[in-house]
Symmetry: C2
Subunit: 140 residues, 2 copies
DNA sequence: TGGATAGAAGATAATTATTTTCCTTTAAGT
DNA sequence: ACTTAAAGGAAAATAATTATCTTCTATCCA
């Protein structure tokens, strides 16, 4: 179910509230990280006539407003997530799941700035490996 | 010009040596990070009849053998680079240039492992901001 | 609350990007 | 040199994304 927060948020981002958009937010809120195709398949169940173009247009509009963000993952199609407090991602190379992880970036950021002399204002950190469940399966 | 090393390397990766492949390696060696389209345009000058499919097929083959690696960058098309010692990337949001940067990842890796309980064996770190040149231009 | 209207949805076409096919050519190993 | 597996090139096939156009609806305001 959708939280009022999300509705308010959509509004505050100047995105018109439509049933399709609400559904997109719900999907993202409950599943976390979804590809365009994932979203489309999920929405089809609720809106049998929804167009793939509608998914693209909405995700693009939401990205534009920074309401959602694209996550580019090695060896996979891009996933989308609701914008939230800054975080990194861990990806399981086995089961493909993607999770958020909050880590301190100060140390590495300082080093990057120091070494590169860039003024950094964004970081996209993806860590790939095996999730705890897949580690177990693998050793079994 | 191509270094013998690259030829040897191509061989050692079981990739048949062809003029087109040599050119791809040269392009990547001299320009660092190139998109498929960049590569195609560069190669066209030397091989007016080269096919875009050849570029795709070769890059895919080289990726397969881990001779080159894809670098997924926010808001940009993927770039490709020769595989080398592990490193992170800095991207200038203004002039779009991409550079390698070597930083210690031990601290953050430990934290990621600790927080996520994943067994991590790969990291893709992209830092976006302004390169020194663009910082200057911007304040001018 | 009942329009007016900007913007969204849906269908489809058009682009763009990527992969595959098929046939010719060539690199690499006898 | 000869053989063969693999690569190149052209074009077709797929996939992914964007654009267009018409219809519909959320939002705004009298």
């Amino acid at each position: 179910m959708i939280m009022k927060d999300n509705l308010e948020l959509l509004k505050s981002y100047q995105l018109k509230i439509t049933p399709q958009r609400i559904a997109i937010v719900e999907e993202l809120a409950s599943h976390g990280h979804l590809s365009i195709e994932d979203l489309y398949q999920g929405l089809l169940e609720r809106f049998p006539t929804i167009s793939l173009a509608t998914v693209y247009k909405n995700i693009n509009a939401m990205e534009e407003k920074e309401f959602v963000q694209e996550v580019k993952i090695p060896e996979q199609k891009s996933k989308y997530e609701l914008t939230k407090a800054h975080h990194a991602h861990v990806v399981c190379q086995e089961c493909k799941k993607v999770e958020d992880v909050v880590v301190s970036t100060k140390t590495i950021l300082d080093e990057v700035k120091d070494v590169s002399h860039y003024r950094i204002n964004r970081d996209d950190l993806i860590f790939t490996g095996l999730c705890p469940e897949c580690v177990v399966k693998q050793s079994a």
